[in-house]
């Protein structure tokens, strides 16, 4: 019975008898004993000059591994163009052995999926990519339409749920945004202070930190943190909903998943990112100021210098950009979530793709803004 402990370790004996090789198996054929004698048994068959007889009269239990061994010997015999003779296997095991459908055990010559020819592969990937492009374009359109519709009928927003999203993406991010921005400001100031000090212009470190944080790093750092924290969360959340057919349930209830799931999140991203960005600018500049004070500059000199270096339009430039960054990061998170396929791996893939695409978009949008601002002399 399967429940009992293994009895005998020496399960295999090979002997020659009347011109054929006898492979004698004894005791319990379970995964442990079979693992020990597998190669020897199969090799005995390969080495046999004549036919092979497998004598199982001493076998008192034959588990799955035992059947696998018998099949392997049978296969090896067949390859040599001979038949294996099986003797003495107890009827209840014999019935199971005879029930094995040999034809269905063989690996199919053509796998049911995978390797086609490379031309087909190129065509397939192109079609997939084109389909994704279409989906992505549609998604942008649907979200924009959803936001516009919400602007017309603000009461359609499910405010409590939206506020929860705002809390998760915004309020909970304050700590990490503060820490990273403050440290970034400090690091830039430290790195710049030494070489600039050699020329006696270390007061201008404040200009550097101020402009860098306000125009570029504040918005970018905030958006990247948002992509890592919330873009990934949106993708995982919506992806799991997709896998659990919750998205399908929304659709069949006549609710558009994009309007219901994506629009509130994108709106939360748009609402939260500018606030976090301003917060990040302040913390970054504060980091730089702290370093300069440690180097002996009085606070009043630093603030005067800062007021001369950073104009309101610089702050405005970073602020405007942050709306777009927030919308892009939140949107791409939701979109990847909605594109999720089946299974746990698919959720992981969507999350990865959401973060990668989010960060990539941040850099692209920032580059576009840099060009536009340059042309506008802003």
């Amino acid at each position: 019975m399967p429940d009992k402990n293994p009895a005998s370790p020496g399960v295999l004996r090979v002997r020659e008898e009347g011109g054929s090789t006898v492979v004698e198996l004894r005791g319990r054929l379970d995964d442990e004993t079979v693992a020990r004698c597998w190669r020897e048994a199969v090799d005995a068959e390969r080495a046999a000059a004549g036919g092979v007889v497998v004598d199982c009269s001493g076998v008192d239990f034959c588990g799955g591994a035992g059947f696998a061994l018998l099949m392997a010997i049978e296969e090896a015999a067949k390859e040599r163009g001979r038949a294996m003779r099986l003797e003495g296997l107890a009827p209840r095991f014999r019935a199971l052995y005879d029930a094995i459908d040999r034809a269905k055990l063989e690996k199919p010559d053509v796998p049911h999926r995978g390797q086609g020819n490379w031309i087909a592969d190129i065509g397939y990937s192109t079609a997939v990519r084109a389909g994704e492009w279409r989906e992505e374009t549609e998604f942008v359109g649907e979200v924009t339409a959803g936001l516009v519709a919400l602007g017309r009928h603000p009461r359609r927003l499910r405010f409590r749920e939206w506020w929860m999203i705002v809390e998760k993406t915004g309020t909970s991010a304050l700590g990490i945004v503060a820490l990273i921005s403050f440290l970034t400001g400090m690091i830039i100031a430290f790195q710049a202070a030494v070489p600039m000090g050699q020329f006696g212009i270390d007061i201008f470190v404040v200009n550097l930190v101020g402009l860098a944080m306000v125009r570029e790093l504040g918005p970018i750092m905030t958006a990247i943190i948002l992509a890592g924290r919330s873009g990934s969360a949106f993708a995982a959340e919506i992806g799991t909903m997709k896998v659990n057919e919750e998205v399908a349930a929304l659709t069949t209830m006549g609710l558009d998943p994009v309007r219901f799931l994506a629009v509130p999140r994108v709106l939360a991203g748009i609402a939260v990112t500018p606030v976090l960005t301003v917060y990040s600018m302040v913390m970054g500049v504060a980091g730089g100021v702290v370093v300069m004070m440690m180097r002996g500059f009085p606070l009043i000199a630093l603030t005067n210098q800062l007021a001369g270096a950073v104009a309101p339009q610089d702050i405005f430039a970073g602020f405007i950009k942050s709306f777009f960054l927030g919308a892009a990061v939140a949107g791409v998170g939701c979109m990847r979530g909605l594109q999720t396929g089946a299974g746990a791996t698919a959720v992981g893939d969507s999350t990865t793709r959401a973060v990668v695409a989010g960060i990539l978009l941040v850099v692209i949008i920032d580059a576009v803004f840099a060009v536009v601002y340059y042309q506008l002399k802003f």
Binding site: P2, D31, E32, R92, H112, A344
Partner: protein, 255 residues
């Protein structure tokens, strides 16, 4: 080991629940070797909790669950591993790993627990899949086959290491009558041919009559009846058992 040598699982005075809430109180029963034992009861009666306590997934509040004479409740480390190898479990959803083919799913426990060469593992996995009627689907991913097939594949994975006991949580849930009957036939054949003991939590009457040797009925966290399905049907011990087996709406009962 209990005095009766035919006993393979014994639950003694098991009290279980989560987060301070007691769901099962003072449950005791025995499962005999080779039988198809059913845990019956309506939704929310504690069937799944009992099953999950029996397989050691949740820690019991008090009591013992002896599997082949060893208590799984307090076991840890290698002792626990040894008990875990005595049984296989099929979860309600099948719980196949979505990123692996059926063959890889069945191979996983073999890779971890046996020293069989790769070719032997692959052959063995295909044999197990064939036993559940999925021989041709070894290279498919779980998402590429139907729900009923996924459950059968889960049975194949649970059987990979030739355990003496299989625990099945709601095997017929979400299956059509034909697929459900096929699964019942599979359970019967595995029980007859391989002598595997089955412990099945279910509320599917057709399955209960078709394959159950013995059953307990749970209601509000306690055993209210024990016996063969036909006995329970013909001689119900209380109103709940009568209502359960006759598919009657339950009348208002005293709280």
């Amino acid at each position: 080991m209990p005095d009766d040598d035919q006993t393979t699982i014994e639950v003694r005075a098991l009290t279980a629940g989560y987060a301070g809430r007691v769901i099962l109180s003072d449950i005791s029963f025995r499962v005999r070797r080779g039988e198809v034992f059913m845990i019956l009861g309506g939704s929310g009666c504690g069937k799944s909790t009992l099953l999950k306590n029996m397989i050691g997934l949740y820690p019991a509040i008090s009591g013992e669950v002896l599997i082949g004479g060893a208590d799984i409740v307090g076991a840890a480390g290698p002792a626990r591993q040894k008990i875990l190898r005595r049984f296989g479990v099929m979860y309600q959803s099948g719980a196949l790993f979505g990123s692996m083919t059926l063959e890889q799913n069945v191979c996983l426990p073999l890779e971890e627990w046996t020293r069989l060469p790769a070719s032997a593992r692959s052959l063995l996995a295909r044999l197990k899949l064939q036993q559940v009627g999925l021989g041709e689907f070894a290279d498919y991913l779980p998402s590429e086959i139907s729900g009923g097939m996924q459950k059968r594949a889960a049975v194949a994975r649970a059987m990979a290491l030739d355990p003496g006991i299989l625990f099945l949580d709601e095997p017929s849930a979400g299956l059509d009558p034909i697929t459900s009957a096929e699964l019942d036939a599979l359970i019967r054949s595995l029980s007859r041919n391989l002598g595997i003991t089955f412990v099945i939590a279910t509320h599917e009457l057709a399955s209960i009559y078709a394959i159950g040797d013995r059953a307990i009925v749970l209601d509000r966290g306690a055993i209210v009846a024990e016996g063969s399905p036909s006995e329970l049907r013909e001689h119900p011990t209380n109103d709940y058992v009568r209502a359960f087996f006759r598919r009657e709406p339950e009348r208002a009962r005293a709280a």
